[in-house]
Symmetry: C2
Subunit: 172 residues, 2 copies
């Protein structure tokens, strides 16, 4: 969504590729899918990924190479789900995140209790002003927003992804 509450495809922030890939590999995530309907944004993502996985970046920093190798670029959320289902041959469980209070949302601890480890689990983040309601409504679960000491909940998607992954893996 954008600031005016309209559904949009947001611009790619290349640091998201790095930070979320690094958090993903740390916490044992199998794949990090970047979804954009725009050719130019997909091309930019691929340029960054190639630099670090095939180009000089990976030679200079093999740890970064290993992280960015997790990234794939897709046109739609549905394409991601189809690709995972085809590859893994198990049901795909979708989990949305939001900075807002959404009725029926659950804690990460609660989420873990509901999960069957055989399934594939897709943790979904929006950039700009967050995921569209339509996408969230189609997900199997929605996680509670991350709250701290006050009502300020404008973390970067990089921070939010890192915190949710730490909670899921380390706070069972």
């Amino acid at each position: 969504m954008n600031k005016k509450d309209q559904p949009i495809g947001s611009a790619l922030t290349t640091i998201d590729l790095h930070d979320i890939a690094r958090a993903s590999i740390t916490f044992g995530v199998r794949g990090f899918f970047v979804v954009t309907p725009y050719e130019d944004q997909a091309k930019l993502a691929k340029q960054v990924i190639d630099h670090w996985t095939k180009g000089v970046g990976g030679e200079l920093n093999p740890f970064r190479k290993k992280a960015l190798e997790l990234i794939r670029v897709s046109k739609t959320f549905e394409d991601v789900l189809k690709e995972i289902e085809k590859e893994r041959g198990e049901p795909v469980v979708t989990i949305a995140t939001s900075a807002k209070e959404i009725s029926g949302s659950i804690t990460t601890k609660n989420l873990r209790q509901k999960l069957d480890n055989k399934d594939s689990h897709v943790l979904t983040f929006g950039t700009a002003w967050g995921l569209a309601k339509e996408l969230m409504d189609g997900c199997d679960f929605i996680l509670n927003p991350i709250m701290g000491k006050n009502d300020y909940n404008h973390l970067s998607v990089r921070s939010a992804a890192s915190i949710y992954l730490d909670r899921i893996i380390n706070y069972k």
Copy 2:
């Protein structure tokens, strides 16, 4: 430190200002000090801060303004400690973080048990290849590295700061 294990002053990454300020305000941190000995880096930090706190940035995004208002720029770690002690008039407890296993390091839960809430607490992060041993040796506590599902521990400082703050505030 740099890659060759030499003590350096690292280059400022402006996204660190945003992400760590946003995490700081979320989790109730009173101040976010950016330490650099270099005039040009300090100037760059101040330009970014001014854009968002006094310039057009803050008008467009008041939430970002509120976050970046937490940031101060200092020349040395010692200056930070002196400034906090002078301002708060209470003992300053220093807490180092590291991606490496350091003998005697503790969990965030353990840290909380040791803290007196009247004191000021300074949670310290290094950029580039982390904090110098000399600085860590002078700190009162060192936190355990953030580990996930394997030995990969190359999170961005933005991710690490967000995770540690979430653990300290939400996992008592």
